[in-house]
């Protein structure tokens, strides 16, 4: 009886307020999904902190700047993986930023039409390669090449320069922080290129054409018109790439050398936070597990800082130039 009554009234309701019920459902769902992101983030953060508490209790804040990783004696410190994470990402950006800028400028300003599509597709395909494939390629193909040709060349040239020479000395292992940085640069390149290409294309043709009309060269147009117009997007692209480089796991684990010692040379093996997690999580328990979770928390904080820093920078840029 009651069922029948309900079904009888519903169509009438719908007739009076067309679409209203659907609207409520849609709005509610959208709200729920948006809030879900916040809950998820808070959940990850809280569980990382809870898991990491034993490590911070045991070692204190100096955990962050201690260089130690000894599961037998249960002494841990995050400095070596933290250093490796920053250095590999830095190398990736040093190689990736100019390369991706060059590719994006070429694609939007210089590229003949018949080449545009093949290059763009190739870039998009690079982004679609799973990171484990980059890792295996790095280990089996790139590492031997680095060891036989590239690293010896670097050691015999840059290694002799006074001052910075120390960063390019030692035996050519083929794997290490430098190789990891090179692989990372290849992995973040497609992200930077495709975002930058898109923002460069938003530059109004009138601006570009009038600059050319005034007799500006391509370089002058890029420097004085395209880049200033799209700087927010370009910096956003760099930050997105940096965030990805900081957290990249599988490919780095294969080629970084996985040593918890900080060496002066960039060619020496090192470790990163995500590589330490990937390597040891399955077999870890007790304090080792807490230390790994503490590393995870530090990576979280690091990425958060990078994104926050990017936001602040973008806001200041917008204030400055309107």
């Amino acid at each position: 009886m009651t069922n029948m009554a309900a079904t009888a009234t519903q169509p009438a309701l719908n007739r009076t307020y067309p679409g209203r019920f659907g609207n409520i459902v849609f709005g509610g769902a959208a709200w729920t999904f948006a809030i879900l992101v916040l809950i998820l983030l808070a959940g990850v953060m809280i569980s990382l902190v809870i898991g990491a508490i034993p490590a911070f209790k045991q070692f204190g804040l100096q955990y962050i700047w201690t260089e130690a990783w000894n599961p037998v004696k249960e002494r841990y410190g995050a400095l070596a993986p933290l250093y490796g994470t920053l250095v590999t990402s830095f190398i990736a950006m040093v190689i990736g930023v100019p390369t991706s800028l060059g590719i994006a400028i070429f694609l939007t300003e210089l590229c003949p039409n018949y080449l545009k599509r093949p290059i763009s597709t190739a870039i998009e395909l690079l982004a679609a390669v799973p990171s484990i494939i980059y890792g295996m390629w790095g280990l089996f193909v790139l590492a031997p090449l680095m060891q036989k040709y590239i690293e010896p060349a670097i050691i015999s040239t840059l290694g002799n320069v006074p001052g910075i020479g120390a960063a390019f000395q030692g035996p050519p292992y083929g794997i290490g922080l430098f190789t990891a940085g090179v692989i990372l640069s290849a992995m973040v390149l497609p992200y930077m290129v495709s975002i930058m290409r898109d923002v460069f294309e938003t530059v109004p043709p009138q601006l570009r054409e009038s600059a050319y009309g005034l007799g500006a060269t391509t370089w002058e147009v890029v420097r004085s018109v395209v880049l200033p117009y799209s700087r927010v997007g370009v910096i956003g692209a760099f930050m997105l790439a940096l965030g990805r480089a900081l957290g990249e796991t599988m490919a780095v684990t294969f080629v970084v050398g996985n040593s918890y010692h900080i060496a002066t040379s960039l060619l020496a093996p090192g470790s990163t936070i995500s590589a330490s997690l990937a390597n040891e999580f399955a077999e870890a328990d007790g304090m080792q597990l807490a230390a790994l979770l503490a590393n995870g928390f530090l990576l979280f904080a690091l990425t958060f800082t990078v994104i926050g820093f990017a936001r602040v920078m973008l806001m200041q840029l917008e204030k400055k130039y309107g």
Binding site: V72, A143, P144, A282, D285
Partner: protein, 351 residues
């Protein structure tokens, strides 16, 4: 009227499904296990053969020894598998019974041009020295003294170790600790240690790739991996002072000569066992099951699987370069089952 028909039909279908599900459950009690990646290839083959024979299927998650221990402690699987045997108090705390299931070997591998399998002889002092970083070059006087007649190059030694936590590393470092006092004092034994020198490769494949790429490298891998990938292994001095090659018979000798009865809970690491043929870095994988079983049929099913594997699965194990347990040890293990594994009414589950 029509809704009644639908309801009846629905109930009938549900009932039929329940009967099917129940019949399936009664037919064979499926078992689950988790842990050691080392034992996975042979466990998978055993499971396949045992399924054909008995209808019981095994779902084994090869997630690593540490995770396997956690899962059996939590009771989410029927058995756990670990390369590192547990201590008596850990077993007691979680009411676990431990026994070995299969044996394998770990070998040092080298990459030196012109050097073939077994050309180089190493002992505990030199192997430990190499991995400690105190022996830095292949023409070090200590190595030359051990290897008269072998042309050792002056290449620097490039040490390669596992980067991931691993039972292989546990057994290798345990061996180094047993034969080299310096190693025991400075590094010790664990699934991951603070390596004094060298680079880390992920998994057996990572270690062997790094060794193969760099002349002058030395690393350690499971024997199956070394043979399949044609890596150059060395001879090692065993506890009785003989230089031996890594062979299945050598691993079996180590397992047979080990005094299993002398240690409670089979808590025996097979490194550096006596006997003139024994290979010094032999390792066992251990199975963990609960001592008090609430589901007797399931417990019978788990033990039945291992009973069949240890008594009938030897050929399968050998094909995959594992060493089956010696018969004497299998009998001992089955006696342990009878005395230590009880159903909830206190009666032994096995046989």
């Amino acid at each position: 009227m029509s809704s009644t028909v639908v309801r009846t039909l629905r109930q009938a279908t549900f009932g039929a499904l329940a009967v099917v599900a129940f019949a399936g459950a009664a037919h064979a009690v499926d078992i689950t296990g988790a842990g050691s990646t080392f034992v996975y290839p042979v466990a998978a083959k055993w499971a396949e053969a045992y399924k054909v024979k008995s209808g019981t299927s095994l779902n084994y998650q090869s997630v690593g020894s540490g995770a396997g221990i956690k899962q059996i402690e939590a009771g989410t699987v029927d058995f756990g598998a670990t390369d590192k045997p547990l201590e008596a108090d850990e077993l007691k705390k979680n009411d676990l019974v431990q026994f070995p299931a299969v044996i394998g070997g770990i070998v040092p591998i080298v990459n030196l041009p012109g050097i073939n399998n077994g050309d180089i002889k190493l002992d505990g002092v030199t192997l430990g020295g190499i991995f400690l970083g105190t022996i830095k070059s292949w023409d070090d006087p200590q190595l030359v003294k051990l290897n008269p007649g072998v042309k050792l190059p002056s290449t620097p030694i490039n040490v390669v170790h596992r980067s991931d936590g691993s039972g292989t590393t546990y057994n290798f470092t345990y061996y180094l600790g047993a034969v080299n006092a310096d190693w025991q004092a400075k590094v010790g034994a664990a699934t991951a240690v603070e390596w004094p020198t060298g680079v880390g490769g992920k998994g057996n494949e990572g270690v062997s790739a790094l060794v193969q790429q760099t002349p002058g490298s030395v690393g350690y891998v499971e024997i199956a991996y070394a043979l399949q990938n044609k890596l150059t292994y060395t001879k090692l001095m065993n506890a009785d002072g003989f230089f031996v090659e890594p062979k299945l018979s050598g691993f079996q000798a180590a397992a047979a000569n080990a005094d299993w009865a002398a240690v409670p809970n089979y808590r025996l690491v097979l490194a550096n066992q006596p006997g003139k043929d024994s290979w010094p870095i032999t390792a066992a994988t251990f199975i963990l099951v609960h001592g008090k079983q609430t589901d007797t049929a399931k417990a019978k099913s788990v033990l039945g699987f291992f009973d069949w594997s240890m008594n009938n699965g030897q050929q399968i194990a050998q094909d995959l370069l594992y060493v089956p347990l010696p018969d004497k040890l299998v009998k001992m293990i089955e006696t342990t089952w009878t005395s230590d594994i009880k159903s909830s009414d206190g009666k032994p589950v096995w046989p």
